[in-house]
């Protein structure tokens, strides 16, 4: 398959969250992932979009979310950016800690990390860039462990 890259600039709305999820599902399908992997990818992108729209841009109509998909021979690379204050991951409590299990929020980044092979979070004063990679062929040599 040839390499392709598409990007979208989106408003800070709930509709963007749904659109991002649907687009991710379509891109993952076209990349040849199976049904379970498609669900994981689309859910990771949905959670990333929720973070960008709610926590990053805080529904600010003047701030945009950019979403980019890049298909390489080995990977589906997804980058989502917001224009918020910058996500400080160290301030997100571990959602699996006993004291946090019954909290009603704070699981988005955890789910993204659970579902994708590589997750990089790059916060800055002008926003947060969240990069997610899913390996196309599930090559064991490319597993999470091998990359750590």
């Amino acid at each position: 398959m040839s390499e392709t890259r598409v990007s979208y600039t989106l408003d800070s709305t709930l509709e963007t969250v749904n659109n991002a999820e649907e687009t991710a599902s379509r891109m993952a399908t076209e990349a040849g992932f199976d049904e379970e992997e498609i669900m994981k990818i689309s859910m990771a992108v949905r959670e990333a979009a929720v973070n960008a729209v709610l926590h990053g841009n805080a529904y600010d109509p003047n701030k945009k979310v950019t979403l980019a998909f890049e298909r390489t021979p080995d990977d589906l690379v997804i980058v989502i950016r917001d224009q918020g204050k910058g996500l400080d991951e160290s301030k997100i409590p571990d959602p699996l800690a006993p004291d946090n299990l019954m909290k009603t929020s704070g699981r988005g980044i955890f789910l993204i990390r659970s579902f994708m092979d590589v997750v990089e979070i790059h916060p800055s004063q002008t926003g947060t860039e969240l990069k997610m990679i899913k390996h196309v062929h599930g090559n064991p040599a490319d597993s999470k462990e091998a990359l750590q």
Binding site: L14, T104, F110
Partner: protein
């Protein structure tokens, strides 16, 4: 697809049949309002039938936790019935599967509530 909710009574237990998606926005709001409405009416034995819930996101998970906690704090019981594989797997990886009382059989689930 948005979420639909309907309720029925079986032997003193309110079964809430949910279908669709429990996600940020409409789905989570429907679940929250349904549970709050039942509790305000004194219907405190609640069985959420998730057999037709095909998708749930982190907001939906948070809403299930909130419903469980709200019911418990008001002296009620809230249990889950018929998880789809997707929802089951999500509750497993978030370590919530053992927190919720999860049932597969409706009749058995109804009997399991405190008399």
């Amino acid at each position: 697809m948005s979420m639909k909710s309907s309720t029925r009574q079986v032997d003193g237990v309110t079964i809430v049949d949910l279908s669709g998606r429990i996600t940020l926005g409409e789905g989570s709001v429907v679940l929250r309002e349904t549970v709050r409405d039942l509790l305000s009416k004194g219907q405190k034995k609640i069985l959420l039938n998730l057999g037709d819930v095909n998708y749930i996101d982190s907001s939906g998970i948070g809403e299930l936790v909130s419903a469980y906690t709200t019911a418990k704090n008001q002296g009620g019981e809230l249990k889950l019935l018929k998880l789809t594989k997707k929802v089951h797997d999500l509750l497993q990886i978030t370590k919530l599967y053992t927190v919720f009382d999860v049932k597969d059989d409706e009749a058995g689930a109804v009997k399991s509530f405190t008399k």
